[in-house]
């Protein structure tokens, strides 16, 4: 278990280094940032100074090492627009994004687990088909469109929920649904097929033979086994939530990292964009590591290194 985990940590770090390299190369591809930063009539001397301070006079691999070294120390440069270190800005906005992603993921599970379980128990029934249809819709609708429709209905027409901003629990409902509907389809499918396997297993039959009520068999004994494949996929869905949050945060003016990065993009505030994208990669890798660790809590066979 320990060596397995060490290997996963190493792979995760490698992914983050790779991501930083990709991000670095892409931003360098865009050409000379000095041109963007300084007015065209800037004196030669100033241009040279700025180039040196940005290490643009060095070979590209040294530039990358410098970038990586600074990034490791949390230095992505200052935001042109907000006049503060880019990383501080991202860290300040990150909790709102994590909060939204977690609520969205929780929403998707609250729908997907009962849907998947009941679809398996009553396979082939009208409920099975309804759950499949509901889940498919979530995959076919862009999250921002779901958001707009909900704003139109619940904010403009009915006035039940605030259309944008954050602050109260009511604010998170619509963004979380818009964001969390997408993974419902895949999660329902995973729970359903895992439950179908488990419900056919010998140990469920054994449990039934000693008088376990159906309710306990399905929601306790079977579900805990069926949850293993679901948990293993949560890292992927969390990434989907992070990715989706870039758009959903814009729709609902949610004060998170995603909206900050999108806004930074339009004001060509590259340090913020770099910090934000790299940070979302870090969060993603960390989430996957957490998922790896959590198997052990659900599946004792892994906990004991089998």
């Amino acid at each position: 278990m320990a060596s397995y985990f060490a290997r996963r940590v190493f792979q995760g770090l490698l992914s983050i280094v790779g991501a930083s390299l990709v991000i670095f190369l892409i931003t360098r591809l865009s050409g000379d940032p000095v041109v963007l930063m300084l007015p065209p009539e800037a004196p030669e001397e100033v241009v040279r100074q700025v180039r040196e301070s940005l290490r643009l006079d060095l070979p590209i691999w040294e530039q990358y090492l410098g970038f990586a070294w600074d990034a490791l120390h949390g230095d992505f440069g200052r935001s042109y627009r907000w006049q503060m270190p880019a990383l501080d800005l991202i860290l300040e906005r990150l909790p709102a994004t994590l909060y939204l992603s977690v609520v969205a993921l929780a929403f998707s599970m609250v729908i997907a687990v009962p849907f998947g379980v009941l679809s398996a128990v009553y396979r082939g029934s009208w409920f099975d088909r309804f759950a499949k249809g509901f889940a498919m819709l979530g995959q076919a609708m862009p999250n921002f469109w779901i958001g707009l429709l909900m704003i139109m209905l619940f904010s403009v027409k009915l006035g039940w929920l605030p259309a944008f901003g954050a602050g109260t629990p009511a604010h998170v409902i619509m963004p979380a649904i818009a964001l969390g509907w997408y993974p419902v389809a895949a999660q329902t499918r995973i729970v359903r097929s895992a439950m179908l396997d488990v419900l056919d297993s010998d140990y469920i039959r054994m449990g039934r033979s000693v008088g376990a009520p159906e309710r306990v068999l399905v929601w306790k004994y079977a579900l805990r086994n069926a949850a293993i494949p679901l948990v293993t996929m949560q890292g992927v869905y969390f990434a989907a939530m992070l990715g989706g949050s870039f758009v959903v945060e814009v729709v609902f003016a949610w004060p998170g990292m995603g909206r900050t990065v999108v806004e930074a993009l339009f004001s060509r505030d590259f340090p913020v964009v770099q910090a934000g994208v790299l940070f979302s990669a870090v969060v993603f890798v960390a989430a996957n590591l957490l998922v790896d660790l959590s198997y052990g809590f659900i599946d004792p066979r892994i906990r004991h290194g089998r």
Binding site: Q11, S15, V22, L149, G243, G244, F246, L265, R268
Partner: protein, 297 residues
């Protein structure tokens, strides 16, 4: 215990109405038909609509769909804030969606398949490096990667395609690699190798035909995803730029007058939704139809 103990529930007769089965049988036709409609709209779009999608007509501004009071069949799905016909714009947007989806899938599929075949067939260092790249690619949320790319390239159709290719090739690479790995174990591939066939012949003769089906299914399933991706980028203003028309861009525009015209928000979204549903349903059906094991059931 052939008969008694292991009767799997799957082979047992299922309770389930005939009605459902008839309905289910229609799904591939319905979804395939809708995709076909999309292609027709994309190819012959201009000839199909009486309106120029970019034509302003301020007298028709905010005209609701025909079946709503105040609507007219001149603009069946209504008009936007500048009186432009929404149906005409949706048909015109279909072309952008389809062009983006087609190019993005062909390119990312081609690159991914090539890279995946190399990784799976040669193994060793090539495999390690390529799979590491896939891992890295997958550890950056694809929209984040897209944002940073869209920021350094000029926004537009080409950028959207490039961004999608960069975000999607890894899926194909992974899929094709695992297919090649399993095919490599088959006797006929091993025999061909022993017989002295070069890697190119083996790819061409033995691997490619087997991989095509799987790729086709993934590609069909991804049409919908790619269209949503394009719509998201365009909605953020990083994708297709006006005066080009795209469904995502229409939604971005309509967001500005969300309180005035529900149809301007609803209609382009419905177009996206129907396209995605069709692509998902058709892809599912295709997968079952191409898989001999499933067909027998």
């Amino acid at each position: 215990m052939a008969v008694e103990a292991d009767v799997p529930a799957a082979t047992a007769v299922r309770a389930g109405g005939r009605r459902f089965r008839v309905l289910a049988a229609g799904i591939p036709y319905l979804s395939g038909g809708l995709l076909l409609l999309l292609i027709v709209a994309a190819v012959f779009g201009d000839a199909l609509t009486p309106h120029d999608p970019t034509l302003l007509n301020l007298r028709a501004a905010f005209m609701p769909p025909a079946w709503v009071e105040g609507g007219s069949w001149a603009h069946p799905l209504g008009a936007d804030n500048l009186g432009r016909d929404i149906l005409a714009r949706i048909i015109s947007g279909a072309r952008v969606s389809l062009v983006v989806a087609l190019w993005a899938i062909v390119l990312s599929g081609g690159i991914g398949a090539l890279v995946g075949m190399i990784a799976g067939y040669f193994g060793g260092w090539a495999d390690v490096i390529i799979m590491r790249l896939v891992d890295i690619q997958m550890s950056i949320p694809s929209l984040a990667l897209a944002l940073i790319l869209a920021a350094v390239l000029d926004p537009g159709l080409d950028t959207v395609i490039i961004v999608i290719v960069v975000s999607y090739w890894a899926w194909y690479a992974r899929l094709v690699r695992s297919e090649v790995l399993s095919l490599k174990e088959r006797d006929y591939v091993a025999l061909a190798k022993v017989a002295g066939c070069g890697p190119f012949t083996i790819f061409h003769r033995h691997l490619a035909p087997n991989i095509v089906n799987t790729m086709l299914v993934l590609a069909t399933l991804q049409i919908g995803q790619v269209i949503i991706f394009e719509a998201s980028l365009s909605f953020l203003g990083l994708g297709v730029q006006s005066p080009d028309i795209s469904w995502g861009l229409m939604l971005a525009d309509a967001r500005g007058y969300i309180t005035n015209a529900w149809w301007a928000i609803t209609m382009p979204g419905v177009a996206i939704m129907l396209t995605c549903l069709s692509s998902n349903l058709f892809g599912d059906w295709l997968r079952d139809a191409l898989d001999p094991r499933r067909r027998q059931l």
